[in-house]
């Protein structure tokens, strides 16, 4: 599918010559990247995998992700069917969703591809311009995003064809592609605009903070659009508010309305021009003004001078113990576990790929808590007043699990995966302790501070009554992560090679995790009906968490997935 899309896209490549991109090289680089995406290796060092044949992440994973994306399209079917006379409303919602999903997938799953410096040593010494390499990275990402976008569109667009006819259906395909392009170019432009004013040494730090900001901005923006368009009680009386015309989904919906009702006044023509014209304009601005400085900065990243100079500020004398060293001594039961703990603690702060993929999730948890707590269609101040009467604190209890699950998944991968040879050369009897040490590091470094912060906020709103719920929630989440660790593949920390396909499921994985969290919350909600049960469950779940941890610590080599 990726190769087919590349071939289709390549017919437009000659147009790129005008902005200084070598279309032939562009094609070859992307083609090679797609080949590499379908292959993956991990550090095995002669050992046999616990799950032979399952270690390759091929097209099956991508197909599954596409299926989930396609499934989300069903949400819009009833909206389209129940608003046959008003195409605007369902199309505003649909295009908002499409824009949000594509932009968020790009930020969450593909930022690491944009910031990939592995190519610098291989491709930059060849006669390839930074612009061509940047365009190759963009096309590479776009091929995946386009597939996701098409998957989301599949059901709603088919529905549009049946209900509104071929002309509107065709127009819907065009506006959907335009929305996908807009999401990609807008996000890239924002990225590069910020990076334009950042020095090389600050680039990596800035991008991680920017990701958190973008995550929150896009997620809240997606929530704001319904408010902007003035959805009244009767959907038939719907009309866009004056500021709504600033939002791209409204342009797309207006363009479709123009085709549907055959209305070509100044407003509708303007909307059609904006919806089709803005993506190429953004692309031109990006390539002409933003890409060159970005490429220059990327060329320096990952070079020895950068590493050499940066490391000078991180010199630590042997006499002082770092935070991770002190914590690992306190929380780990063996030297092996301490190693897993310290490696995860330190690498997770310094590894660019890990940070690029993990940091947005910190933004997500606060966005989702906000969305879930303040849902219900009432005024914000009414919800706020009635909040202490609700059980919405359960979202605060369980949302940190998302951090735990995401970090647990990501610590398996590293660009420096061959370095995992040390696990095999060292006299490690229980490699499970490397994993348990790694989980402890994640729990203390990311999960505990998030839980504590949410506890303090919840304490202010709900009072002391929630203390036992937080304790139970904490134990339940530990059980969850340890059981998940037992039944899924047991990868050693930073031992697997990352690739684009592996990274591409991040957002959808998050959505599935939200469903799991909702199930845990549902269970906890049931427990709330029987106040005595919570006091029985706290020691019980504490004990089972301890037993699961022991089981993981005693895992031997044959059970490890290499």
């Amino acid at each position: 599918m990726g190769k087919l899309l590349l071939r289709m896209l390549s017919s437009f490549f000659p147009l790129l010559r005008k902005v200084g991109i070598n279309d032939q090289q562009l094609f070859r680089i992307v083609e090679m990247k797609l080949i590499m995406d379908s292959r993956r290796t991990s550090a095995k060092f002669g050992r046999v995998s616990a799950q032979p044949g399952k270690e390759k992440l091929g097209s099956g994973n991508l197909n599954f992700i596409l299926l989930i994306y396609a499934g989300t399209g069903f949400f819009f079917v009833s909206m389209i069917i129940s608003n046959v006379n008003n195409i605007m409303l369902p199309m505003i919602f649909f295009n908002s969703y499409l824009l949000f999903m594509i932009a968020m997938t790009l930020i969450t799953d593909f930022s690491s591809v944009l910031m990939d410096t592995a190519d610098n040593q291989i491709i930059l010494p060849r006669p390839v311009t930074g612009r061509t390499l940047f365009a190759a990275r963009m096309v590479h990402v776009f091929i995946y995003l386009f597939q996701f976008g098409m998957a989301i569109c599949l059901v709603p667009v088919t529905c549009i064809f049946f209900i509104y006819g071929i002309a509107v259906g065709m127009a819907c395909i065009v506006t959907s592609i335009s929305t996908i392009l807009l999401a990609v170019f807008l996000t890239y432009c924002l990225y590069m605009l910020v990076l334009r004013y950042a020095s090389e040494e600050k680039l990596k730090d800035i991008i991680t903070y920017f990701q958190i900001f973008m995550t929150i901005a896009f997620a809240l923006g997606n929530q704001l659009i319904p408010a902007l368009v003035n959805v009244s009680d009767t959907l038939s009386s719907f009309s866009p508010g004056p500021y709504a015309y600033l939002a791209p989904p409204v342009w797309m919906a207006s363009a479709l309305e123009a085709v549907y009702i055959n209305k070509w006044d100044a407003l509708h023509i303007g909307m059609v021009l904006l919806s089709i014209g803005l993506p190429p304009v953004l692309f031109w601005i990006m390539n002409k003004y933003l890409a060159p400085s970005f490429s220059r900065k990327m060329a320096v990243l990952g070079t020895d001078i950068e590493a050499g100079v940066k490391n000078t500020s991180e010199v630590r004398t042997g006499s002082t113990k770092s935070v991770s060293e002190r914590l690992s001594t306190r929380f780990c039961r063996s030297g092996t576990e301490e190693s897993g703990f310290q490696l995860t603690w330190k690498v997770s702060s310094r590894d660019k790929q890990f940070r690029l993929q993990f940091y947005p999730s910190m933004g997500y948890i606060f966005v989702f808590i906000f969305i879930f707590m303040f849902k219900g269609g009432r005024e914000m101040d009414t919800i706020w007043e009635r909040l202490p009467e609700t059980n919405n604190f359960l979202w605060a209890v369980y949302m940190p699990l998302y951090l735990l699950l995401t970090a647990r998944y990501l610590v398996s991968f590293s660009e420096h995966f061959p370095s995992a040879w040390v696990y095999f050369s060292a006299p490690v009897i229980y490699p499970g302790q490397l994993i348990s040490g790694s989980i402890k590091a994640i729990a203390i470094k990311y999960f505990a501070p998030a839980l504590l912060l949410l506890f303090v906020l919840s304490f202010v709103i709900w009072g002391a009554a929630i203390i036992d719920d937080f304790i139970l929630g904490c134990f339940l989440q530990f059980n969850f992560i340890l059981i998940a660790g037992e039944i899924s593949k047991k990868h050693l920390p930073f031992s697997q090679q990352p690739n684009t396909q592996q990274g591409s499921g991040q957002l959808i994985r998050m959505m599935l995790q939200l469903v799991l969290m909702a199930m845990l919350i549902g269970l906890h909600y049931l427990v709330l009906r029987f106040p005595w049960a919570i006091y029985c469950l706290i020691p019980l779940t504490g004990l089972t968490a301890f037993l699961h941890l022991r089981r993981l610590q005693n895992t031997k080599w044959p059970a490890i997935t290499l």
């Binding site: 070859r28 090679m32 006669p127 040494e201 950068e306 000078t312």
Partner: protein, 257 residues
Amino acid sequence: MNPIITLSGLKKQYNGLYVLKGIDLSFSQGEVIGYIGPNGAGKSTTIKIITGIIPDFEGEVKVLGLNVATYALEIKKRIGYIPEQAAIYEVLTPAEYLLFIGRLYDIEQETIKRKSMELLRLFDLADKSGMRMSGFSKGMKQKVLLISGLLHNPEIIFLDEPLSGLDANSVILVKEILSQLKQAGKTIFYSSHIMDVVEKISDRIIIINQGQVVADGSFSELKEKANLGSLESVFTELTGNHEHHSVAGTFVDILKN
């Protein structure tokens, strides 16, 4: 004869710290230049600037009469660069990788395939041309890297530790290849820590320390100047590292305790 490479007042700073502090050098066609220095001296940075990989620097660098700041792409077409680390797409096979690299230079597919196979055969890798490189040894990857840097028959060749990880036979073969490339009029810029190889193959040796050139001349000139017997002694003298013996002694003492 016009110099093939000239560096005038070359400086490079990063984060306010100068890693190159003003380098003035020029090289003629057909010269084999040994470029040596301790870790962090600025060797790789110099090479990356000359080859157009690092675009931001102070001073002027001309390669083949072209300014690197303006004509990096033209220069890259006519030079070959073999980096220190085996930077390679390991999930590809040698044949796939060389085809990919060759096409970036616009070489015809058939030519790449033919030349690749012949060169792989010389390095005893022909039977592995269809195997993914993730399972290759460091030396095998280095051989593929070497081929990828020379496939387009460059006029100037930059080698950063080219013998790293190679077996004894391959080292002899590479030294012989370099010698024949020199005879064919190629300019070779050779950076290495292996002093005896630099000593044997270089017409001219440049020693760089803390971002500055501390010595420049043929091996016999340097030897005469420093009044020492081997390049290793000259290097030690000029870079100011005289404590190897005592450091080694302390190292072993620490292990004992």
